[in-house]
Symmetry: C2
Subunit: 405 residues, 2 copies
Amino acid sequence: RIDGDRLWRTLMDLATIGATPKGGLCRLALTDLDKEGRDLFVRWCEEAGCTVTVDEVGNIFARRPGRNPDRPAVCMGSHLDTQPTGGRFDGIYGVLAGLEVIRSFNDQGIETDAPIDLIVWTNEEGARFSPPMLGSGVAMGVFTLDHVLDIRDTDGVRLGDELARIGYKGEVPVTGHAMGAYFEAHIEQGPVLEAEDVEIGVVTGAQGQRWYEATVTGRESHAGPTPMRLRRDALAGAAVMMEAVEAIALEVGGDACSTIGRVQVHPDSRNVIPGRVWFTIDLRNPDPDALARMDAMLRERLAAIADKRDLTLELTDFWAFPTTPFAPELVGHVRRSVERRGLSHRDIVSGAGHDAVYVARKVPTAMIFIPCENGLSHNEAENIKPEHAASGCAVLADAVLATAG
Amino acid sequence: RIDGDRLWRTLMDLATIGATPKGGLCRLALTDLDKEGRDLFVRWCEEAGCTVTVDEVGNIFARRPGRNPDRPAVCMGSHLDTQPTGGRFDGIYGVLAGLEVIRSFNDQGIETDAPIDLIVWTNEEGARFSPPMLGSGVAMGVFTLDHVLDIRDTDGVRLGDELARIGYKGEVPVTGHAMGAYFEAHIEQGPVLEAEDVEIGVVTGAQGQRWYEATVTGRESHAGPTPMRLRRDALAGAAVMMEAVEAIALEVGGDACSTIGRVQVHPDSRNVIPGRVWFTIDLRNPDPDALARMDAMLRERLAAIADKRDLTLELTDFWAFPTTPFAPELVGHVRRSVERRGLSHRDIVSGAGHDAVYVARKVPTAMIFIPCENGLSHNEAENIKPEHAASGCAVLADAVLATAG
Ligand SMILES: NC(=O)NCCC(=O)O
Ligand SMILES: NC(=O)NCCC(=O)O
């Protein structure tokens, strides 16, 4: 039994930090607001009797001891950072559902054999510092600590400096934390559960992603006296490439997705034909072969467009992870919980990357999804139903209990 | 007779202020570098015996007196501000060719009946503060002084504040300056003269322009779990619109041009489907009917794309001027000079806007073009031949002399 009202109040309390006029959150990683959110979370955990430690990349671990201190911890967690125009639940729900599990175990005097760790991972969104999932990535040995501390935001500010500035550069070694299992509750961030009127998504894994950066170079010239046929317009070429990127996902079909999220035009003057355009590309597919096909289509089509227009294309791999299955045993704990509780449910593959994806490389992992309104996420209007929040939290509690003994 | 070597040295001297590594200039309007360039120009004019005054919008007037102080001045001029990645000659050539005319008249003891004014117009490029041609625009009553002083750059800095800061907020009333005629020498900024191996372009007028701002609004959502068919991707729609803008000029053909120079994507995060895209559009045509047709095509096609993709389009008129003929009598002075000097020449319509376009609304006006290398302008590689610079300057001197008596 968990306290759904308390969970909701806690969510709303944290949603006051970085609130936007449109009802969302802007609490970018390692800003003053992120510090404020972290501080509040740490206070709540300490009030719940947990011991809080911070590792070298700012990941926060709140421990509820078990009977057997030698067993690796059964872990829950997610992230507290948001997109620039993000919602109140993405990541935050998973963290605070974990806190509610601990609070309700306390209320009911439940002891577990293994210790329970509630984890906040640093910079999951990849919005301020890119790529995403940096805290979990370092912890799981995907990135080196030095590499990640040296990543800069668009203003050139170093991640490591910001970590120190907000007081979350911890001393605990970032790798080697003993995790016996990891559960992450999260909003679906897509429309499937809502459309099928299903309360819980039993997440069997996450689809693969490939991120790129494209730089198209042409020749700057005057927007007036330069005849169309003599132009080498980097932006006109980039626009056709952007259309091609969209077409790739449409042609491949199924669950294929393609997105261009960022664009920079140089020199960015109204009457100058752009000489250079930079943009990002995000390709996704749960089917590894289809994702490889999308990658090949991307390279071929963008190169052909550049060629035809006498433009230079530099297409670099920025980040990627393969389709990642979760641990059947842990997924089984989630499934048994929803069945026992009589919650409507379906298996689902995560469309987004999550810290769970990196954790799954080293630790048995599972995720629990709840529906979100209109399938909207990475949007200030992101919303969930309190009863779904409570159901997901109850399933998380069941799964943790089943694993921690 | 003018001194081509001195003109070239003067051009190279001014090109040291704001020089870029690629051999161009970045001397945006009303920056410290613009002040430095203006100060050097003022010193040169005073050394040449001119009286220098500055008007309320920062336009600089260097006067060489005539025998008859009651006659309105015969004027020469252009601008000293550049694009962010501009060249060494755009605008600057016209100003320094005018200075060389004054210097050589001094050397040869030439007196004119009318006074001669050499003018530097403020913020011609429209790069830092947009639209272009603001100094000449206020002087000719196209814009009010208050409106222009209140225009802001992309950092929100006010034009009027920058003018005061660099010490070029003058006291002379900006309208009502007595101009009897205006000649502006300029590089062609296009490929025509070079392609035909012609030394001088006799400019009969300037083609019309229409500038717009487009804002496309869709719905922000997550780049992963949002299926392609449920997206309202403002950038995917904007990319198709950008292609349509290019296609309009290609379809209308002839001298039609269309350019998108600036793009801003919101929220500009790699894994967020953009909810809003803003971009600028620049349409040009020497034929007024064809320009009107392009305008109609733009409105219709962009609206149809927005409609089809369930996006909202806001298309606003930002700036425009109609095709502008220059004064036949003054154009005749230019033509007679090139003929007498045996320079190869052709009539040409300016593809760019120039201060001359606004001046022509109130004052008899003509322009003189010289070729530029590869037709390149608004590019750091912009270049001209010293002998062309000298020829254009000599023609300017002839035309001024023929007009000033
Ligand atoms: N949940 C989430 O937004 N994660 C960031 C990585 C991704 O874009 O999938
Ligand atoms: N010469 C020049 O670049 N003028 C600015 C206005 C235009 O873009 O035509």
